[in-house]
Subunit: 253 residues, 2 copies
């Protein structure tokens, strides 16, 4: 099994190295990831400048390819240039941070798996729901689950252009309370703008914010994570709000 491994935290991130170590047990892993962190890159693609691929060694021993583009660019380039169109599975992660609810469209991690789905490859994104730093975190449990899920996904014949979005609670492996198949929930950010003044007196703004505490929808990714369960959400690329088609027809535009 030929696995294309990428992420959005960059090729030197501990999450991608951890999952490489479990995926290499089940297949031929090609690590092709952004040369620098590209969190919240969304499904951005690079059209206005050329892209480069550079051989690198990470984790002391792992041969990888650092790409100057976005996570989505990594998948496109790797599939065409390095893998010459032969690939059985795309894995994106392990991201150090949640990708729940509306994070799906912001996330570079999920976008890389979307790109795999567009290429009609079995694809999955995996994240641990860390809210702080990842330096001392044990990605082992998430990495082991990724390998289990990868084997199932590669064998399964899911419909074309679908992917899995997986979130693993950022707790000790012994505290994880099983797996839940979920739908995408809601996760609202508040206080998103931090306005400051620079030394010359001009305003500048940092984007950030915190999560609004709400009771999450049972069955959602957000709800599963709060209960310390691994969340697995099937995702497709069709964003049509079918329930509104008839309403709009009545507008007679």
């Amino acid at each position: 099994m030929r696995i294309l491994l990428t992420n959005d935290d960059g090729i030197h991130a501990p999450g991608i190295i951890a999952v490489w170590r479990t995926l290499i047990e089940i297949g031929d892993v090609w690590m092709v990831a952004p040369e620098r962190p590209r969190s919240a890159a969304g499904h951005a693609i690079t059209l206005h400048k050329p892209l480069r691929i550079t051989d690198v060694t990470v984790g002391g021993e792992i041969k990888g390819f650092a790409c100057s583009g976005t996570p989505s660019d990594c998948v496109t380039l790797a599939f065409d240039v390095l893998l010459e169109g032969r690939c059985d599975l795309v894995v994106s992660g392990i991201n150090a941070g949640p990708n729940l609810g509306w994070d799906l469209t912001y996330s570079g991690t999920v976008a890389a798996a979307m790109e795999g789905a567009i290429l009609n490859l079995p694809s999955m994104a995996i994240s641990v729901t860390l809210e702080g730093g990842s330096e001392s975190f044990d990605f082992g449990p998430a990495a082991r689950f990724a390998a289990v899920c990868a084997q199932r996904l590669a064998r399964a014949k899911l419909p074309p252009h679908t992917l899995l979005n997986i979130n693993v609670p950022a707790v000790d492996g012994s505290e994880i309370k099983g797996v839940e198949i979920t739908h995408q929930g809601k996760r609202e950010y508040i206080d998103r703008i931090d306005a400051r003044t620079d030394p010359t007196g001009r305003a500048y703004y940092w984007l950030g914010g915190s999560i609004r505490e709400v009771t999450p929808d049972p069955g959602s990714d957000v709800h599963a994570i709060l209960a310390n369960r691994i969340s697995v959400t099937p995702v497709h690329l069709d964003m049509t709000a079918y329930a509104l088609l008839d309403t709009l027809k009545e507008w007679k535009l």
Copy 2:
């Protein structure tokens, strides 16, 4: 009616200026757009560096605000900082190029309207399906349709966190054959990588590609445009593939 107007082609693009001229007839328009072109930015947000807003005049007379961030950043910043949370409608466009099928997740134009939807504001993205340059193109028909649709959308009580994605055929206004309410279709790119060698002998890659010619799904955005009809697609942010929930439960992960 207070309208937040943005785009991904940048604040100096002809499409945003054309739609400003029709929207100003129906409301108080705040133009807050990227200071440079950000096509294919997806739903990227800027977390790693601060953002700036600069007063500009465009189209000879229009007061606008150029933002150093992505289209999505423009909406967040404008809503919080400039509009202080008071906004009736978000309009993104007019984009010079189609946003059909899988383009929805790549598109900065659509992402700005997604950000409006996340903020629970009536939101719409509008594009003309130009495949070449926009210099001599008449955005008038699309701009007039944008204003009609904006008025309907502002009055309608669509469900929270939904948006409209509108594509207008890039033909003379007299050739447009009405409006179709559509679902998101498929639009596959081929030959996406152009590999080249630089003067020092190193490889580099341009992303691009062309559209694979296929017979589009009737009722889809792609199909409507080929028939010279304006396509209006209702979009939501829930990407869950609900039909796969039961399949995945049987995996017993």
